[in-house]
Amino acid sequence: MEKIDYTDTGQFCSGHVACAGCAEALAMRVILNEVGTDAVGVVVPSCTAVILGGHPMSSAKIPFLHGTLESAAASAAGVKRALRAMGRDDTTVLCLAGDGGTYDIGLQSLSSAAERNEDILYVCFDNEGYMNTGGQKSSSTPKSATTGSTPLGKTTRKKNLIEILAAHRIPYIATVSPSHLNDMKAKVKKAKGMRGMKVIIVLIPCLPGWGVADNAAVKTARLAVESGVFPLIEVEDGLTYKVAQDEKKHPLDDYLAQQKRYRHLKDDDRAELQADVDASWSRLIGLAAM
């Protein structure tokens, strides 16, 4: 176990309404504290918006614009331009969205902001589905996972957003997990110190959505990282890949076993998914070696 090197400065308040045991609240706490007080936030409909809370309450100390689902990056760009017009170019613009708001309906505006290299810190809480509307698939839902709209398991793979973003050659892309909070904190700090478009994808095992036990969110996230299904990486300028670990430490089965959304899988299906993780891993290691 690594010790968490962390002081809470109170940027995320208690009393939020995340499901008990959800690791998203933990991630938000670390991110908001690292981003600090000189920041303006944008959030779009998602669990994140729910956790931030309804008017007049807010679980964040910084102000948040609750924008529309498809406009996260465009709204953040608007905030940034207004700050710049007012001579406040150093204020951080923090944009929070789910995977639906990022991989699907918001991809167009995200791509545009990335292409313009807007100076925003965009964080996607990736719980691999539309949880706010009751757990339907998104294009981030992995192959074979069951959701409300893929009751027999999704037939297509998870969209590779990292490579899509890398193709935009933005300064910084990273993946983080609530199981590795020091890594998360360090990456947020690094991103905050950079100019231009930064995107951080946070894996959030969804308790009801994935069928994970109330006390197993962090453990499941750790298994996702250590089995290589969700490696912790950084991509700088779309070209330089870094992977935090040298090898996979768990078979995929250990990760799948935590979740009801994969319970229908047969041995063959699991082997197929393992082969896919192995291939993606080799490819990633290849990219990192370049």
């Binding site: 809370g53 007049p56 102000p63 614009l65 608007g78 207004a82 545009s112």
Partner: protein
């Protein structure tokens, strides 16, 4: 009417360039823009001004009008003065965010060039694009020529920032957007004195940490609409005041409702936008021929200046409403609105809704003249009438 002032800077320009000049003089902080025919000359002129160092706004050029409006809302939440321009498909793409902008009380100014929406594709003057946004909570003004567009876009910033509501100014595709006329350019100092930089409300304030647009309960949502109603109720007066103050500086008058030769009129033509010019000519010809005709130009469509409209229309025996738009299943939008406005009035005029110029078809002066003669004194026509 234009009262030439000493050293007046008169230039020939089209309606869109007049808008761009008005916006340049209003000095917005942020301008998210996306091209669409026939709006594009507004965008191009502003970008040209910027490349010459004469327009300093942050230009945001995102991938769509939807994102442009999202950017407008967000920038406005920081207290920035914000402008955008669009037309037809672009305006319709923004629809969700038009509701948002008004509900969040963002004083954004937008110029819309009225154009037919697809299908089928067309690029012709027709006001259904903006009229179909009438329930979004935006103030809507309609202008009839390039000078009117320049004057009105400047006034729109005053109205928006005073009321805390977004304002959409509209002019017709090509008839106004691309027609070249002499335009009197006010000086930068004059516009600055008319539009002083007030300390605007910063809704997203890092020292307070309050959120904008966060979920509310039913009662709170209901209250936002009641508050919008109060703000809307003040718009007619604000528009009158904005027009009077502008007239004091430039000599050019404007009002929510404008009248032409209505003294003693028995029949009045009701218009919005570029049709006004044609209707004015028709009135002149009718008057010359002894027909007591007049013109009522509706400049402020949202909120509809109800009390003034009722009082004005009570003076005439017959009213012909000219709609350059068609709402399928009902008729002309202006006709519906005026019908509703007149409801319950004993002295309401005979009302006739003419679908004139839908899809940009030309409506000659002679046609309007003939229609006026035909309907003079006729009892109300229940159904809209397509003008050939």
């Amino acid at each position: 009417m234009n009262a030439p002032v000493l050293n007046e800077d008169m230039r020939l320009m089209n309606g869109n360039h007049a808008v761009a000049w008005g916006v340049r003089l209003a000095v917005p902080d942020v301008a998210p823009l996306y091209p669409i025919t026939p709006q594009t000359p507004i965008l191009e002129k502003l970008i040209e001004f910027q490349s010459q160092g004469q327009f300093k706004a942050e230009l945001l050029t995102p991938e769509s009008e939807h994102s442009a409006m999202a950017g407008c809302i967000a920038a406005s939440a920081l207290g920035a003065r914000v402008f955008t321009a669009t037309s037809s498909q672009g305006l319709l793409l923004m629809h969700e965010l038009l509701h948002y902008a008004a509900g969040a009380r963002m004083p954004i100014v937008m110029f819309n060039v009225n154009r037919t929406p697809a299908a089928p594709w067309g690029f012709w003057p027709d006001q259904i694009d903006s009229l179909s946004q009438r329930d979004t909570g935006w103030v809507q003004l309609y202008t009839e020529n390039p000078q009117d567009s320049l004057d009105t876009v400047i006034q729109a910033f005053r109205i928006a920032e005073s009321a805390g509501l977004p304002v959409m100014v509209n002019h017709d595709a090509f008839y106004v957007s691309h027609s070249v006329e002499p335009v009197s350019l006010p000086s930068a100092d004059l516009v600055q004195s008319y539009l002083p930089r007030q300390a605007r409300e910063i809704k997203l304030d890092t020292t307070i940490g309050r959120s904008v647009g966060a979920p509310v309960d039913q009662v709170q949502w209901n209250r936002t609409r009641r508050e919008m109603q109060i703000a809307m109720a003040g718009i007619a007066d604000l528009t009158v005041q904005a027009g009077q103050d502008w007239a004091a500086l430039t000599g050019r008058k404007s009002a929510p409702l404008e009248f032409y030769k209505t003294e003693g009129a028995e029949i009045v033509l009701v218009t919005m936008g570029s049709m006004t010019g044609t209707a004015r000519d028709a009135v002149d010809r009718l008057r010359a021929d002894g027909v007591k005709a007049g013109l009522l130009k509706l400049r402020l469509f949202r909120p509809l200046p109800l009390a003034d409209l009722r009082a004005a229309l009570a003076r005439f025996g017959t009213a012909l409403v000219l709609d350059r738009n068609y709402s399928p299943g009902t008729g002309g939008v202006l006709h519906q609105e005026i019908k509703a406005a007149l409801f319950g009035m004993d002295d309401a005029p005979g009302l006739h809704g003419l679908l004139a110029g839908v899809g940009g078809v030309s409506v000659p002066v002679e046609t309007l003249e003939a229609l006026a003669r035909e309907h003079l004194g006729a009892p109300t026509s229940p159904d809209p009438i397509w003008v050939e």
